[in-house]
Amino acid sequence: MKLAILIPAYDEEKTIGQVLKKIPQKLPHIDEIEVVVISDGSHDQTANIAIKLGATVIEHDLNRGLGGALGTGFEYAKINDFDYLLTFDADGQHNYRDIWPVLRPIVYKKADVSIGSRLKEHKGMPWHRMVGIWGLNLVTYLFFWVWTTDSQSGLRAFSKKAIHSINIQANRMEVSSEFFYEAGKKNLKITEVSIESIYTDYSLNKGQKSINAFKILAKMAYRRFFSK
């Protein structure tokens, strides 16, 4: 069974090296792991560092946003017939030890989509970040009829069925919520796994600003009511 680990990255030269070095080379029931770094129009050394560390690197010439990068990753996984797909953050927010727990339900065919949730048990998350996430959880539920404790999670795993049926239209950060919409629409089974979140000053600065919540809201409304 082949696993693709997608790491979308925009100007992450400071952390991509560390992240790549810690990705496990072997996982239970997996024959082949391919780490795919998608550099989303990075201006720094992100792509070069990833190439040197042996990752497969796909480079966008222009920055398209998280949704754009993940869409490209999914396309790559489809074309190359991967069995499983896992998304992982490039900024060091995720713990590589959470990879297997999130992937496990997919491998054991208990679900099509597995979401690593930071809020099932929360420690160390700044309160305003939590409020923002819960707000978006609520909106995700109202718009897309799917409840999740972490609609913005970056650590997710997908089965082959999910890889082929999910259609990503969003370009920017609203893609996180779009996964739930697609899963609901295409009847994919979703499950959640508790994960740890590593908060450093670096990753906090990189995360979503609270004001983006309104922009995301508008885009989610558009996706829900106006697009195909």
């Binding site: 998608i38 792509a47 190439i51 042996g54 990752a55 497969t56 690197v57 796909i58 480079e59 966008h60 010439d61 222009l62 398209r64 754009g68 869409g71 490209t72 396309e75 790559y76 074309i79 190359n80 239209q169 370009n171 558009y222 106006f226």
Partner: protein, 130 residues
């Protein structure tokens, strides 16, 4: 007849007529530049002519306004103008969104043609624009 309103309206009528003539002249230019055919030119000429005529007939919008349940013709015109603006803005938003998606599709196609793989050989990438 209230002569004050009449004076105010005369200015609006004049300005509008100038604008209408300008817009019509642009249509003529486009015709000579082969952007419009003769049927379209006739159509636009009639449209602007009608607009100028309507602007000069006093009180005709009040009739329509009362149909809509609004008191004055001017109010109805403003209301319609605002609705038209909302619609135009919505269309712009849609177009802008679609353009963004097209750009992403293009960037994606280009990116997938040039994938760097460790083993030095690239797997055959099927040409598919999502």
């Amino acid at each position: 007849m209230n002569t004050n309103i009449f004076h105010g309206l005369a200015l609006v009528k004049t300005l509008f007529t100038i604008f209408a003539l300008f817009a019509w002249s642009r249509a003529v230019i486009r015709f000579y530049a082969k952007d419009l055919n003769i049927k379209e030119l006739i159509f636009w000429t009639l449209v602007w002519l009608l607009m100028i005529v309507l602007v000069f007939i006093p009180g005709k919008t009040n009739f329509f306004a009362r149909l809509l349940g609004i008191d004055r013709g001017n109010d109805a015109m403003f209301f319609l103008a605002i609705v038209a603006l909302f619609y135009a803005t919505y269309r712009l938003y849609v177009k802008s969104n679609e353009a963004e998606k097209e750009i992403t599709r293009l960037v994606r196609a280009l990116a997938l043609k040039n994938v760097f793989k460790k083993k030095g050989k690239r797997r055959a990438i099927k040409r598919r624009l999502g």
